[in-house]
């Protein structure tokens, strides 16, 4: 006990004095800048931790010990664990960035915990208060809203305000999408910027003489033609209805609300009136239109993403609602001559702006991280131009860093998509995370709607019932 207290006191002193704990490779004035923010941050967390965990202090202690002799070179030491889910984007970028970070911090022992099941595998560690230091929030069984509610994530509000990356650029200024706020606080920083949208095969459309649609009427018109030509116009991933919700329904709601996306934010805040609004009913009506015109592939309801995507790639279906990861995910199976066409939304009326429903995958620091210094440094490392620009290339999807993606080696459709996201004529919906129960209720209800089990009023009734229960 005595020892720990002594260490804590000592470390606080050392921290405040001069020693920088920030990432290697930073210039000196950056380093001192970072050191002060780090120190402030550490202080505050230690205070709030009130003895529940002494991760911060022991860690600071080790740092103090190792740093005591050196003066200038900031050194990160100890273990540092990074948890990252491996999904449609693959893990090329993560392997690279972790290797680079390790190389820049030879005294730090960086441990990569990655994989498609990592969220399940590491869950007990989060419950047990022994989580990895740094987490990439993506994939199933990890929900940022829930993690915040559960008090799992470090409050980054103060730190991020003027945090700079290793090049000395202010991180917030670089982000295309600002971090989502939970009760005015920031816990996670968006790393990957994805947009939902509708895909088609340009080559096929050209060959058949179909017009690439720009609004809902054109979409219906061309779908009529497509159907007449014997192709099913629209397939979606019924087993996971968040695809059609994200790429079709939510943009439709915003369009029907005259481009005002606050309705979605109200929905996320569990306001019943938002779900009962006309905009929602109009948007649901558009799904009903697709259904009643027989545009929706009947196979949709039971198939998962790979199956639906495969059918789409085989030109069995003309349109698919999906996310920008699609071409990378299916890269091995894209037939010769297939050319992705993409529009973020297809539900707007002629003359209305296009609506891009973005979804970001974020990174965060665990509240109970043992090596918060390394975690902060890693954040600063990740959000550098050098690292972030590789994301597009290695993962085939836009990162959340502003900048001219057209200069990068990113695939051409990523560049096309990125144009939409920066175009002033596009309404960009910031990432919205719904309550898990409400989200599930909306998914089930949308599925039921597409197969004619319920009508839009039934959809609203079902979802609002859940919202009322959750809001209690």
């Amino acid at each position: 006990m005595m020892n720990k207290k002594k260490y804590a006191a000592m470390s606080a002193a050392v921290l405040l004095a001069s020693v920088s704990l920030a990432g290697c490779g930073s210039s000196n004035d950056n380093a001192s800048n970072n050191a002060s923010t780090n120190a402030a941050n550490n202080g505050s967390t230690n205070a709030t931790n009130d003895g529940g965990t002494n991760a911060g202090s022991t860690n600071a202690g080790t740092n103090a010990g190792t740093n005591a002799g050196t003066t200038d070179t900031p050194k990160l030491t100890g273990d540092f664990e990074v948890q990252y889910f491996v999904g449609g984007y693959g893990d090329k970028w993560w392997t690279k960035v972790i290797a680079d970070f390790q190389a820049a911090n030879p005294d730090l022992h960086v441990k990569a915990l990655g994989g498609p099941k990592i969220n399940e595998q590491n869950k007990p560690r989060w419950i047990g208060g022994n989580p990895p230091d740094f987490v990439y929030i993506d994939g199933p069984e990890l929900n940022d809203r829930q993690m915040v509610e559960d008090g799992q994530l470090e409050d980054l509000t103060d730190w991020i305000k003027d945090a700079k990356n290793v090049d000395g650029d202010k991180i917030l200024d670089m982000l295309a999408q600002q971090p989502q706020q939970f009760d005015g606080k920031i816990y996670n920083i968006p790393l990957v910027l994805n947009s939902w949208g509708i895909f088609w095969n340009k080559a096929l459309f050209k060959e058949k003489g179909w017009q690439e649609p720009q609004d809902f009427q054109q979409f219906l018109d061309v779908s009529d033609k497509i159907k007449a030509a014997g192709t099913t116009p629209f397939i979606h991933t019924g087993k996971y209805p968040y695809y059609i919700n994200g790429a079709f329904l939510y943009p439709a709601i915003v369009s029907a609300n005259n481009g005002d996306y606050t309705v979605l934010q109200d929905m996320a805040a569990n306001k019943v009136e938002a779900f009962e609004s006309e905009a929602v009913k109009t948007a649901l009506g558009k799904i009903v239109t697709l259904r009643d015109k027989g545009f929706i592939d009947k196979a949709s309801i039971q198939i998962n993403h790979t199956d639906s995507q495969m059918l789409f790639l085989q030109n069995k279906d003309a349109f698919i609602p999906n996310g920008l990861w699609l071409p990378n995910e299916m890269s091995k199976d894209i037939p010769q001559g297939f050319d992705f066409g993409f529009i973020p939304s297809i539900t707007q009326d002629a003359g209305q702006k296009i609506v891009a429903n973005t979804s970001t995958a974020t990174v965060a620091i665990a509240k109970n991280a043992k090596n918060k210094d390394a975690a902060h440094a890693f954040l600063q490392f990740v959000f550098s131009k050098a690292q972030a620009s590789q994301w597009a290339e290695l993962s085939g999807a836009p990162s959340n860093i502003k900048g001219d993606i057209s200069a990068s080696n990113a695939p051409s459709f990523v560049k096309d998509a990125a144009k939409y996201l920066t175009d002033p004529n596009t309404i960009v919906i910031p990432t919205i995370t719904f309550n898990a129960d409400v989200d599930k209720a909306m998914q089930d209800a949308t599925d039921a709607l597409t197969i004619g089990k319920i009508d839009p009023a039934g959809w609203v009734k079902r979802v609002t019932d859940v919202v009322k229960k959750v809001a209690k």
């Binding site: 399940e120 869950k123 989060w126 419950i127 829930q146 019924g238 039971q302 898990a436 599930k440």
Partner: protein, 300 residues
């Protein structure tokens, strides 16, 4: 003193055979299971480090949830469907392979057990391919007989999709029960059948009045076992094939437990469903035992 020492020895023997197993069982099964069930009285997301005690609120909530009732209905549908399907087919095979003097009976008996050897993951993947509306086996097969390509979405009906999960469950379950019944039939003294034969009884008659009564005990064990494994194990095949969807139409208690505890962050609620499964299993066991009891015939 002799008697006392013998008694002591006996007790030592009993203790040394009972206690290690029981201790082991308590640590690695009873304790975690009991603790899991205990969470049913908490409002806990399953992720946070804090949980709050809410008594029986999860149970009150549970009985108001229509999906729970549907899940119970689906579970009992599977229980009844599996009991009938498995028992009829397994009994048929068991009788056919023992009483009918078929050639290659041994061969059939061996291969019929194979589905029990295969991991349920493989079974799930396999049947998903069978049911796949576009590239699946079933539609391709049916298309051989029709002009137009058949595109039935086998796992996407508005209602009764649960019916589609019955064939894989039965298919996978036959082998074990068949062998159990074969064993029982082989234990019936041949003289019984010879006597019946002399009286000119038909095969059906022999089956009715000799085989069934004498293997009834094994049939009872089979039925109880099917019921138990279905109520707490059917979620695996459901989860692999449909994840309870579409629109919760194939949800069973186990899959809903998983969904709530691990996908919707209501671990306490999930634990309450676990308690429900345990209760229903116990009640159903008692009821089934009563129903099946009076027909028992002891082998003399």
């Amino acid at each position: 003193m002799e008697a006392g020492s013998a008694k002591w020895q006996r007790n030592l023997f009993i203790a040394s055979f009972i206690i290690p197993t029981f201790a082991f069982f308590c640590i690695f099964t009873i304790y975690p299971v009991a603790k899991g069930l205990y969470y049913s009285m908490f409002d806990w997301s399953g992720m946070s480090q804090t949980k709050s005690f809410i008594g029986l609120d999860n149970f009150k909530e549970m009985f108001k949830d229509p999906i729970v009732w549907r899940a119970i209905g689906n579970d009992y549908f599977l229980v009844v469907g599996k009991i009938i399907g498995i028992m009829v087919i397994a009994t048929f095979f068991a009788v056919a392979l023992t009483r009918f003097n078929f050639k290659m009976a041994g061969f059939f008996r061996s291969i019929f057990f194979i589905p029990n050897v295969i991991s349920v993951v493989v079974i799930g993947v396999l049947w998903n391919f069978i049911y796949n509306p576009q590239i699946g086996f079933l539609n391709a097969f049916l298309s051989l007989f029709t002009d137009e390509k058949v595109t039935i979405t086998w796992l996407g009906f508005t209602n009764h999709t649960i019916w589609m999960l019955l064939p894989p469950a039965i298919w996978a379950g036959i082998g074990f029960y068949m062998i159990l019944l074969i064993a029982a039939i082989q234990n019936i003294p041949a003289s019984y059948y010879e006597a019946a034969e002399l009286e000119g009884a038909t095969q059906w008659r022999q089956f009715r009045s000799i085989t069934v009564p004498l293997i009834w005990e094994q049939m009872k064990v089979s039925i109880l076992n099917i019921m138990m494994t279905t109520l707490n194990g059917s979620f695996v095949i459901v989860w692999i094939m449909t994840e309870g969807g579409p629109d919760n139409s194939t949800q069973v208690m186990g899959s809903y437990l998983y969904q709530m505890a691990f996908r919707q962050y209501h671990f306490g609620f999930g634990a309450a469903i676990g308690v429900l499964i345990l209760m229903l299993s116990l009640i159903t066991t008692v009821v089934l035992q009563r129903l099946l009891r009076h027909e028992t015939v002891e082998l003399s």
